[in-house]
Symmetry: C2
Subunit: 319 residues, 2 copies
C-alpha cells in the first residue's frame, strides 16, 4: 500500500501539566492543527501553504517545526521522494497550547503515511522533538508526546510513556487574548533553584504520579501544584492569581499554567465541574481586561490521527 | 491492656534512594536500633542508657532524636506518665544508614505500646519527623518513613506511602569506615541548581516511580540515577566513583549514595547478584584504602516492630 497524499490532525496539548516541567503533558479535545502531506519528485520538504489561526510562520523547512520534523523523518528513513506540506493552523501561536508542536506532529503523521513502511506512532517521537526544537530552542517532549499518544504522557528525552488517569476526570483550559513568548518565559527560569524548592516540587510530582497509577484522586490533589516554575512565570500572565483561584474555588484538583502560558488549566472531578470552572476562569480573566475562551476536555483525549487518505488506484483494495 | 515496658527494633534504611532526595527511602534487613521504653511516674522522657555501636550521644531528651520524638508523642497524646528509654545502637553514626532516625523510630514504637490507646504505626510519622529534625536540622522523612512502614516509601511532609517494588529485587549497601557529617553534606547543596538539571532529575524520578508501579525493571533502570545531588556529594566519599562503577559492572539497575553517605547502595535483579556486587563494592573501597562491609537486603524488608512486651498481670489475658 503506497499513498501519495495523506492528511493528519494533531490536538492541542497542555505542556508541563503543572507538576512535570518539560516532562509531563496531556492532550486536549477540540482545537488542533491539520496537515496534508503530498509525495513529490522534488527531494526534500516544501511548505506549500499555511492557513488558519496563524499564517505568518516561516516557510523555510529548516525554520518551520513541521518542515524540520518531516525532513528528519525523510533523512532517517532514506525516503526516495520529497514531501509537499499544506498546514492549517487551528491553535493560536504563543497560547501555551502546543501550537508549534502540533504542526510538527500532524505533519509527521501525514508524511509517515506516505512511507512504504510507515513507522509506529511512538517511533515518530525523535522527529517530532527535532521539529519542536526549532520553535522553542530546546528539546522537550511534553507537547509532542501527548499529541502523538493522547492522554497524559511522560516524555523522557528518549521515550514516551502513557500515564493512566482516573476515569471521568476532565480538564478546563482557558486561553486569554494575550501572548507570552516561549523564549521570554524561559528566561524567567535562568537563575538557579534552591534544593528546598526542588524537594517540594519532586514531592508533588511523586504524589501526582502515585495518584495517577493508583487511581487516587486525593493523591492527585495533593500533588497537582507547581511550586517550581509557576511562581516565576505567574507575573507574565495578567490575572493569573485570580484565574487560578477561580479554578480552585470550583473544586479543581489543581490548576497551573499551560506550557509557557498564558493559558491556564485545571483538573476537575467531572465534566460539569470543569465547565462551570471554565466559565469562572474566563470571567476572572475578563475582570483583568483580557477576553478569554474556555476549552473543556476529557483527560483521555485521543492523540494525532490520519483523517483522510488518497490511495494510489492500484492499491485501493487495501484502503 | 496496659504495658509498663516495651522493646522495639527499627531497621537501618537508605535515604534519598538516589532519585528521591529527602523524599524516597527504603528499609534494609539486618542492622538496626533497639529501644526499650519503660513507664515512669516522673513526667517527661529520661534517657537511662545508650549502648552499642555509638555511645557518646546526647542524653538530654531535647537533643536526642529518640527523646525528642517520644516527648512529642507524650505531649500530643497527653500521656499521664513519663517514659524511661534504654537505647541500644546497632547502626553506626554518620554512616548514611539512618542511624539517628532509627533510634527515634524504635523509641516511638516502644513508647507507643505503653499508651492506653496506641496509635497506628503510620500515625507515629509526625513524631518521628520531630525526632529526626534534632539530628539533621531539617524535616525529611526518607529514613523514618521506610523504618516505620518497611519497603520503599514515599515520604511527603504530611504522609507516608508505600511504593510497590517488583518482587525479587535486592539491594547491596556498602558501608566504609569513614564519616560524612550530615550537616556538611547539606552545605554541598547550598548553591542553586539549574532548571535543566532539575528536569533531568524529575525525569528520572518519574521513570523510576512508573517502573515501580508497573513492575517494569527497565523503567527502574532508566530512572535509578541521581544527577542532582550525587555530583555535588561524590567528592565527600573517597572512592565513590570506583564503588559505583563496581555496582554497575555487576548489573546494578542503579547505584548512588545512601543518605548523606558515605555508604553506597545499588539495586540488583536478585540476591546472588547483590551479593557478588556487594563484595566487588567492598573491594573497590578497599583499593581506596577504606575498609568496608556489605549488607544485602530484600527490597521488601520489614519496618519497625515490637520485639518484647511485658504486660501488667491484671491484663495478661489480652497478651
Amino acid at each position: 500500500m503506497t499513498r501519495d497524499r495523506a492528511t493528519a490532525f494533531a490536538p492541542a496539548s497542555v505542556g508541563n501539566a503543572g507538576v512535570g516541567f518539560d516532562l509531563l503533558g496531556f492532550a486536549i479535545e477540540g482545537p488542533g492543527d491539520t496537515v496534508t502531506a503530498r509525495r513529490s519528485d522534488t527531494p526534500g520538504v516544501i511548505i506549500e501553504s499555511i492557513t488558519g489561526t496563524v499564517t505568518d510562520l516561516p516557510r523555510d523547512p529548516e525554520k518551520n517545526t513541521a518542515g524540520k520534523a518531516v525532513q528528519a523523518l525523510l533523512d532517517v528513513t532514506r525516503a526516495q521522494f520529497g514531501v509537499v506540506l499544506s498546514i492549517e493552523k487551528g491553535i493560536p501561536l504563543g497560547s501555551g497550547l502546543g501550537g508549534s508542536a502540533a504542526s510538527a506532529t500532524a505533519a509527521l503523521m501525514a508524511a509517515n503515511a506516505l512511507l512504504d513502511a510507515p513507522l509506529d506512532v511512538a517511533d515518530l517521537y525523535p522527529f517530532a522533538l527535532a521539529g519542536e526544537a526549532v520553535a522553542s530552542g530546546s528539546v522537550h517532549g511534553d507537547n509532542v508526546g501527548p499529541q502523538l499518544l493522547g492522554g497524559l504522557v511522560l516524555a523522557s528525552p528518549e521515550h514516551l510513556f502513557r500515564i493512566p488517569v482516573p476515569a471521568g476526570l476532565y480538564a478546563a483550559v482557558v486561553h486569554p487574548d494575550h501572548v507570552v513568548e516561549t523564549r521570554a518565559a524561559r528566561t524567567a527560569l535562568r537563575d538557579g533553584f534552591p534544593i528546598e524548592t526542588i524537594v517540594a516540587q519532586q514531592t508533588r510530582l511523586a504524589l501526582f504520579l502515585s495518584g495517577c497509577f493508583q487511581g487516587d484522586r486525593n493523591l492527585i490533589r495533593a500533588g497537582l501544584a507547581d511550586v517550581l516554575v509557576e511562581p516565576r512565570r505567574a507575573q507574565l500572565i495578567p490575572g493569573f492569581g485570580e484565574v487560578k483561584q477561580a479554578a480552585l474555588d470550583h473544586g479543581a484538583l489543581g490548576a497551573s499554567i499551560s506550557g509557557a502560558g498564558p493559558s491556564v488549566f485545571g483538573w476537575f472531578e467531572n465534566q460539569a465541574a470543569a465547565r462551570q470552572a471554565g466559565a469562572a476562569m474566563v470571567a476572572a480573566f475578563g475582570r483583568c481586561g483580557l477576553p478569554a475562551t474556555a476549552l473543556v476536555s476529557s483527560l483521555d483525549a485521543p492523540g494525532a490521527c490520519l483523517i483522510e487518505n488518497r490511495i494510489r488506484p492500484n492499491h485501493a483494495s487495501r484502503a
